[in-house]
């Protein structure tokens, strides 16, 4: 019985998740591009050698990681603050929650257009303000050192609400009695935060951290629409590089290699992170009697 109930879901999930992995592994061992007349030909691992020597791939890995780590840490920090505020009894809480949730509900591709205009030089609002203040133009979207931060800002704006929501769910699951008990013991607000709030919401924080890191690693819409990967490819992400190889260069074999390669890197680092967190966890729990 259980099997029948699960079967449709299992079939669909393996079609969409498992098949691609097998398909990519197969593709990554072939030359399959416009130069082979869109026919797959064995090429004895040439794709993999190319990947290892491809400066651009490694630069994109670095850029994607930089983007993911910066934006997710900022998001977490902001989200905790927002969640704590939203958890309190304030007038018009429903409306306020709805407003803070709004950025998350809007399509990324759509707001990316909006951000492109906000950061536009010289007529976007930020440059207008700097010129009004008599400052040098910043040229946000044409300075490689700055542009990626602009994409981080856009991403933080968009996804902080979602993390805040998960953490808010965590906060609301904490029974009020616990705080009451601590207060009777003479603890203040600060110690309540450290002793009760943080430990009890830490699984929620962990969940959103892992989830968002993985998603940020696959960033695509935002970059594609906001910067197109420029300037000087300084904002290009792994997913974009794979997309360009498939859809602009018609090199499907290499595109698949990029994707499976970055997937391997991602899952290895996830596994390592998991090990490290587990280690530290057991260390901490060992210290406490």
């Amino acid at each position: 019985m259980t099997l029948i109930l699960i079967l449709p879901a299992a079939l669909l999930i393996s079609l969409v998740f498992l098949f691609p992995l097998v398909h990519y592994l197969w593709l990554s061992s072939k030359a399959f591009s416009v130069m082979t007349g869109l026919v797959a030909i064995n090429n004895n691992g040439a794709n993999w050698i190319r990947l290892l020597n491809d400066q651009r791939f490694w630069q994109d890995i670095y850029q994607t990681t930089r983007f993911a780590i910066t934006s997710v840490s900022l998001e977490l920090l902001l989200a905790i603050i927002i969640a704590i505020i939203l958890d309190q009894r304030i007038k018009g809480r429903g409306l306020i929650r709805a407003i803070t949730l709004l950025p998350w509900a809007l399509p990324t591709a759509v707001m990316a257009l909006g951000w492109r205009w906000i950061f536009n030089s010289p007529y976007g609002p930020i440059e207008q303000i700097t010129s009004l203040l008599g400052l040098e133009p910043i040229n946000i979207l044409s300075t490689p050192e700055i542009t990626w931060m602009a994409t981080v800002i856009a991403d933080v704006w968009k996804t902080t609400p979602f993390i805040a929501l998960i953490i808010l769910a965590g906060l609301q699951s904490i029974p009020y009695d616990l705080y009451e008990a601590l207060r009777l013991e003479g603890g203040n607000q600060y110690s309540a935060f450290i002793k009760i709030t943080i430990p009890l919401i830490s699984p929620y924080i962990f969940l959103s951290l892992v989830f968002r890191l993985a998603q940020a690693f696959g960033v695509f819409d935002l970059i594609q629409v906001m910067t197109g990967g420029g300037p000087a490819s300084s904002t290009e992400s792994i997913a974009m590089y794979a997309y360009i190889n498939a859809m602009r260069f018609l090199d499907f074999g290499y595109s698949a290699t990029i994707m499976i390669g970055s997937f391997l890197l991602l899952s290895t680092s996830c596994f390592l992170a998991y090990l490290i967190i587990n280690q530290t966890k057991s260390l901490i729990s060992n210290q406490k009697p």
């Binding site: 416009v34 133009p137 044409s142 300037p231 490819s233 859809m247 260069f249 018609l250």
Partner: protein
């Protein structure tokens, strides 16, 4: 018994009538032709398409899909429809750089059977470049398009001819506070940068890809790129030019903030509109070049191709013929400033009298150079865009960037060795 016969008779009658109706319907069948064009072209051809549908009423009906405006987004759309093997389009209006790739992928039809030698001879030579791949005619030109240098007639007596002259003239203007910026062009990391690069490179006497030789690390290339960098360093071009595509450049020039602009012919119509600050103060010429080197103009140009999977190729050819007729071209030129491709229009004395720029366009059209026509062009272009963008935004030196571009281009070339030409 009688009942059975009458039933079978009735059935037979129904069968005959329906098959007759079906036959009649197929006689009346209308070919529906779907055409994909970038938004500006879809808008400007609305009237012509309506007229076509009236003229061919009951035979062919054209449906135009208004694609995105940016060439790259347009190419993404076209390619994803073709990769899906389920393209809703019979005809696609194609950019010159897509041709080799699409042809090599087997997506296009040889147009020779509909457009013979007689017809090709009516087209200006410059506009016939970039329509062939491996001697097959895969694209029929719709609009000629080439890089132009727009200059302000109220700020200078004549446009600069050489790179040095350009720097001198604009610096004088800027020093006297006559104008904010000297020269705006397309410096964002995208195809437009490759177009600017090719024009300037040719003006410095260099070559990008010539057969099997890549000329990016030669002195000419270095001089050309150094000159572009110098424009930014000397503040002749604003730093933000490294994020300019055509619209941004036009926006600056149109509001009177720049003395020169590199852009395509359609900018002309935009600059003559009522809201333009430089209306009536603009002239056109081609990109500067070293003394003794011919000035060059990158060939843009859009043309129609019929898709291999289309089931209505003959009707599609009729549509293309209509849309590119002399009459349509004249209309598009007068109303939208689209450069014609038919030689008759450049010899039409009435038209020459009516338009102050048609002869300038004709001259530019004779100076066109095409970007390398290779199926892997997108890769080559991507390599140079990437390095140029790095150089222009101060991330790499000219030497460093160009030698890496040279190396990467050679790798692409060797990875596809023997499959070119």
């Amino acid at each position: 018994m009688y009942k059975k016969i009458s039933i079978s008779l009735a059935l037979g009658l129904i069968l005959i009538v329906t098959s007759l109706l079906a036959g009649f319907a197929s006689f009346l069948r209308v070919d529906h032709i779907n055409v994909l064009m970038p938004a500006p072209f879809a808008d400007s051809t609305t009237e012509i398409v309506e007229r076509f549908n009236k003229d061919f009423h009951g035979k062919i009906k054209v449906h135009v899909t208004r694609g995105p405006m940016e060439t790259e987004a347009m190419s993404d759309l076209a390619i994803s429809s073709l990769i899906l093997d389920n393209s809703p389009y019979d005809i696609i209006l194609m950019d010159v750089t897509w041709l080799a790739k699409y042809a090599e992928a087997g997506w296009l039809v040889d147009l020779n059977q509909w457009f013979n030698k007689e017809k090709t001879e009516e087209i200006v030579t410059g506009a016939m470049i970039g329509n062939y791949y491996k001697n097959n005619l895969f694209r029929w030109p719709f609009v000629a398009d080439m890089g132009l240098l727009y200059w302000r007639t109220d700020l200078m007596e004549r446009p600069p001819k050489t790179p040095n002259e350009l720097i001198e003239i604009t610096q004088i203007l800027q020093n006297r506070n006559k104008v904010k910026h000297g020269f705006v062009w397309q410096g964002r990391q995208y195809e437009g940068l490759s177009c600017v690069f090719l024009e300037v490179l040719k003006g410095f006497g260099g070559n990008w890809i010539n057969g099997n030789a890549i000329g990016l690390n030669l002195p000419e290339s270095k001089n050309a790129v150094s000159w572009l960098k110098e424009l930014i360093d000397k503040d002749i071009s604003p730093t933000s030019v490294t994020n300019f595509a055509e619209p941004e450049a036009l926006q600056v020039f149109k509001s009177g903030d720049s003395a020169l602009m590199r852009n395509w012919p359609y900018a002309w119509a935009e600059l003559q509109k009522e809201d333009s600050a430089v209306r009536g103060k603009v002239g056109i010429t081609t990109m500067v070049s070293l003394p003794g080197v011919k000035s060059s103009s990158t060939l843009g140009s859009w043309g129609f191709s019929i898709m291999e999977k289309s089931t209505q190729k003959d009707s599609s050819a009729k549509v293309i013929e209509y849309l590119t007729s002399v009459k349509s071209q004249e209309e598009l030129f007068l109303n939208f400033g689209y450069t014609p491709t038919n030689i008759k229009l450049f010899k039409d004395s009435e038209l020459i009298h009516q338009s102050e720029i048609i002869m300038d366009l004709y001259n530019a059209l004779n100076l066109t150079v095409s970007r390398p026509q290779l199926p892997l062009y997108a890769q080559f272009s991507d390599v140079i865009q990437r390095e140029l963008s790095a150089i222009l935004t101060d991330k790499k030196s000219v030497n460093e960037g160009l030698s890496l571009a040279q190396k990467n281009s050679e790798n692409i070339l060797s990875s596809s060795a023997g499959r070119f030409q």
